[in-house]
Symmetry: C2
Subunit: 351 residues, 2 copies
DNA sequence: GAATTGTGAGCGCTCACAATT
DNA sequence: GAATTGTGAGCGCTCACAATT
């Protein structure tokens, strides 16, 4: 169980191939100025010995490790059950394959987990870049990494996002489109169910909801707004609560919350979309299937992941904040499909 | 977006504190022979400047990176939905916190993903140790890491497990106990539903099933054995198929497969446990809740994760193969609870 | 002489430049 | 002189040992 006895180095390989360590280095790094026969000879020795360069030495001198880390501040169970994260991970992995980076997930939980991880993340010579999802449990970590000059990209919008490179989706305009859609279907009392205000995406989605109401000449009414945990249980509770206000439609800021809303309405004997129309937000490829099928604002999470990797690149010269568009996908929960006149509004992808 | 302008090094900190780099190094690494006032002075400078040692330099000279990697050869969606992985990750994270290592997950998918990751995993100066779950998609990776002399621990049993350190659970004896339990409840035609034979744990669980039959003087009958993918759909298919043999009990080698079995039986109008008794294998803390509640062989996945980290330690001097015990937890799917005489057989933990 | 500190060497690479063909 | 190769220095640490109190 000891390490490799033969501590192979560039020098050893060079000796075996009859060249200097420099030439071996050039072969390894695909430098052009190597004579073909020498290259072949060196490659043969590398192949035969199974030599692989020491990553630490390489990182020390080149100041690059090739490692991209995704920092996940959540309980593993929570994380692993969430289609948002699985899609995001998928996108980041694809992005890393494109750029030739190694992708790695650093799960941590709570203050203690963060304090263990933070020094390592912040050190030189460990990660080339960090991707972190914005949220109450990671916003200070993102701010710390930024302040320390680390190469960090936030996914979403951290509470303090000055000088933070980030990828986000058009939460506000997407929410406005969803709300406008409900208003256009002649719903008079359109409510909002979303996360508590420490989630910035919830703040933006509430703003979009209000934008749409104002745009059609209605007065936003806080009695039609409920906030809770951004998960199924939170959506369930908030919906039960808001029913006292007799809404005939709800824009629900995440699909898991919308699933909770559907459950609450079913329990109360209310039909969707007849009694209450529902529009959600997420539209994830692996999201749960609901009955009725949810009308929702689709966000391009896969592209978010890919783009985050792009933003991390040193040679990236695009904008430091990238906002990706969302689009409304019509399902059966909003009532648009019932009224044929509305059918042409559908511009979501087919499933 | 550039790196920190002040490239702090030990030398810089030493200069600021009026000592040599050696003394700063001693302070950082908690060496005893530093005068208290000097230590305080150096710590003050470190604190003020926010200095953190370069991990690559440290790794190069100490030959340790402090990084433990879990290699996950699976589609992310599959992975993230699986309570086995979430529990395992939880256990490994706890183990790493105990040993002061940084824990990181390397997700990859397919041949291409593996070929990208493998050189890095195999290199010196990158990971202190690799944990990999055994299975058809990772067994050759485990063998390669072993052959290259890397510090690797397998979870489960790889097809080629010579000289591979590993943590496993007592699949065979646990399966025998489950099968014996069904025989003891007077089931005459006890079938086996499990994974296809490239999954070694399935091979062991089938062996345990046969052990139990032989022990009570019955002839194992391959017509009562069905194998399919180790997931809900596979369990569903295999169970539909085995019903032609009219089993009155099934030992199902994983809980997801058992969930599929329950669905198949329900669809065929068969009652559990009256028509067919079911015992599963897994008993994960975050596993799905079934109706009826599943009798199952509980494996200690959290401890498996913790133990894997222990086995990775250089100073570990226990056995290289650790097999953790399983225990049968009685639910409502086997019929034991109905017959009061069997109640005392229950030795699972309460939920 | 014991406790504390500094110096030199070296980990295994990459890069600039000099030396060789 | 252009293409190819080797040498020297250095990345930022840790460790052994020498030097200092």
């Amino acid at each position: 169980m000891t390490d490799t006895p033969q501590a192979l180095t560039l020098e050893t390989i060079g000796k075996l191939a009859g060249v200097s360590r420099s030439t071996v280095s050039r072969v390894l790094n695909d430098h052009p100025d190597v004579r073909p026969d020498v290259r072949t000879r060196v490659e043969a020795v590398i192949e035969k010995t199974g030599y692989l360069p020491n990553q630490a030495a390489r990182a020390l001198v080149s100041n690059r490790t090739g490692l991209i880390g995704l920092v996940m501040p959540a309980d593993v169970v929570e994380l692993f059950g969430d289609p948002y994260y699985s899609t995001l991970v998928h996108g980041i992995r694809e992005g890393c394959e494109e750029t030739g980076s190694i992708f790695s997930i650093f799960p941590f939980y709570g203050e203690r987990g963060q304090s263990i991880l933070l020094p390592t993340l912040t050190s030189q010579g460990f990660l080339d870049g960090v991707i972190a999802t914005a949220g109450p449990r990671s916003d200070d970590l993102i701010a710390t990494l930024r302040d320390r000059g680390r190469n960090v990209v936030a996914v979403g919008r951290p509470a303090d996002h000055r000088d933070v490179r980030r990828v986000d989706v058009a939460s506000r305009s997407g929410s406005a489109a969803a709300t406008a859609h409900l208003c256009g279907l002649d719903r008079r009392r359109v409510g909002f169910v979303g996360p508590t205000p420490e989630y910035m995406f919830g703040v933006e989605r509430l703003a979009g909801y209000r934008d749409a109401l104002v745009a059609v000449g209605r007065e936003p009414d806080d009695r039609l707004v409920r906030r809770d945990e951004p998960n199924v249980a939170g959506g369930y509770r908030a919906t039960l609560d808001i029913l006292a206000e007799q809404p005939d439609a709800l824009f629900v800021a995440t699909d898991p919350m919308a699933a909770g809303a559907l459950r609450a309405l079913r329990e109360r004997g209310l039909s969707v979309p007849d009694d209450v129309a529902i529009v959600g937000f997420d539209g994830l490829p692996n999201g749960r299937v609901t009955d009725p099928q949810l009308t929702t604002v689709v966000q391009p999470v896969l592209e978010v992941g890919r783009m985050a990797v792009q933003l991390l690149r040193r040679d990236h010269d695009g904008p430091d904040v990238v906002i990706l568009p969302t689009k409304l996908r019509i399902g059966d929960s909003c009532g648009a499909r019932a009224s044929t006149s509305q059918q042409e509004m559908e511009h979501g992808e087919p499933r």
